[in-house]
Symmetry: C2
Subunit: 308 residues, 2 copies
Amino acid sequence: MIDVTLLGTAALAPIPERALSAALLTCGGRSVLFDCGEGTQSAARKAGVSLMKMDMIAITHYHGDHIFGIPGLLQTMYSAGRTEPVYIAGPEGLADVMYHLMTLAGELAYDVGLVEIPADGLRLCEIAEGWPREAVLSTFPTKHRCIAQGYSFTLGRAGKFNPEKARELGVPVKLWRELQGGRPVLVDGREILPGQVMGERRRGIKIVFTGDTAMCESLADGARGADILICDATYGDDSRAETATERGHMTFRQAAETARLADVKTLWLTHYSQSVTHPAMFLQNAMEVFPETVCGYDGMSVTLGFSN
Amino acid sequence: MIDVTLLGTAALAPIPERALSAALLTCGGRSVLFDCGEGTQSAARKAGVSLMKMDMIAITHYHGDHIFGIPGLLQTMYSAGRTEPVYIAGPEGLADVMYHLMTLAGELAYDVGLVEIPADGLRLCEIAEGWPREAVLSTFPTKHRCIAQGYSFTLGRAGKFNPEKARELGVPVKLWRELQGGRPVLVDGREILPGQVMGERRRGIKIVFTGDTAMCESLADGARGADILICDATYGDDSRAETATERGHMTFRQAAETARLADVKTLWLTHYSQSVTHPAMFLQNAMEVFPETVCGYDGMSVTLGFSN
């Protein structure tokens, strides 16, 4: 099961009804936080989610509205007794930014590690126990006014286990779990491979968080086939398309075009400019292009599981 | 007229109904902000006060819950088109802390100046036009786990102008304003001094913001005779007195004892620990010692003027 919660949906500056854009993804009891602007810790409390089992802050870029909540959150977790390490991922320049944030945060009773996400993604079980083996976090480049990246979380899904085949091969039931987990077993000196008893890999779950970005190919590629695309939708009105592109953002319609190109299942709009007082007023602009669009709001949450 | 608004009343970490402890003082259309933890800019919006005419952030000490809102606030004022300078005051160590905060805040279109408040106070009209000449900000040492100071704002008040005396001395009416403003005038070659036409100085207005502190003599001295003492009241229960002192804080009762010693008019409690879920439950502990106590809450505001 995966829980995705929007903690904030505001661009640039928080307003009373909208915290700065951030999202929390929880799976197997562990979490990744995407971006952490000023007020994210409050937003999490309001949304009723804990950040104590959050293993990683995945930063999309280093503008203040995406990172100024980090030192306060680190201090609060320290006060709350956290001892587990926290990892921070981000595009080029992470060490510099974190130097200042960590100096301000001061002494903590846990480690803060900076990680570079490998090109083929990071298995989250490598940074903390509890994450399913198949949970992988990847990045893709986006197009903003500074170096920026989006994140793609995938929970892969093995093929269906075939018990008849396992019995046929003489695998004792107590070893089935190993094969189901993708590990070979030895039976009377013969090596049995998972592929011999598992069907073809099935569709997993994919969640994408864009951060701030204009439309671009790498985003459409990175978001390909996502179940949820949490997408920059700074401006509601179509007339702002050029401004949006210039500033490295998107209109609702552009976000919808991205969703259509990337063939995602659902599009969540977020990161609203203060000019967007009522996102729903502009929803039609997106739905004309991509009907499965929803206007994100602070505290919006969904739980996804495998359907069979 | 002076407006005092509590923006937040929480210690350590914000909770949904309490932003981090901060207060705004406005006089003559200009403001001083006392402390600026994460979320202060949101808290100001909620309280319906603007920070755009705020000339100074007066920091009591450098713990995160009192300063992490600074870079975001500076950026937001920049986005909103601010061009007027902002001054930052704080105890020893200000330059170091501000180096990190300013690096994170990045480029701004206005100046940020660090100021040291002189021992006899700073006339605020020296940093920005609009402040009355008699508005003075002073500091006094407090007792926390790090170097810390409290602030005292005074709006002095000249004596009553005596028009009969002015006429007697032959001062033309158009020069009365000069004398009322404390400046000597020349009448037919004779110098007339303000003291010749003004009565004795009258009681002014004094507002004190303690920041985090245990009871101490310098606080009682600094707060002497204040109209409002906005005071650390971290713990409600009397049994926490020792803990409070150890940690450089106060209980409600200790805050009240400070108010009594300092002979203030009104005590505002603030900076509540999360253990204080309902401040009013502990108000009696303070009122037994000092009846003119109120439990501060986010957005609480008062306007003070001279009574005659």
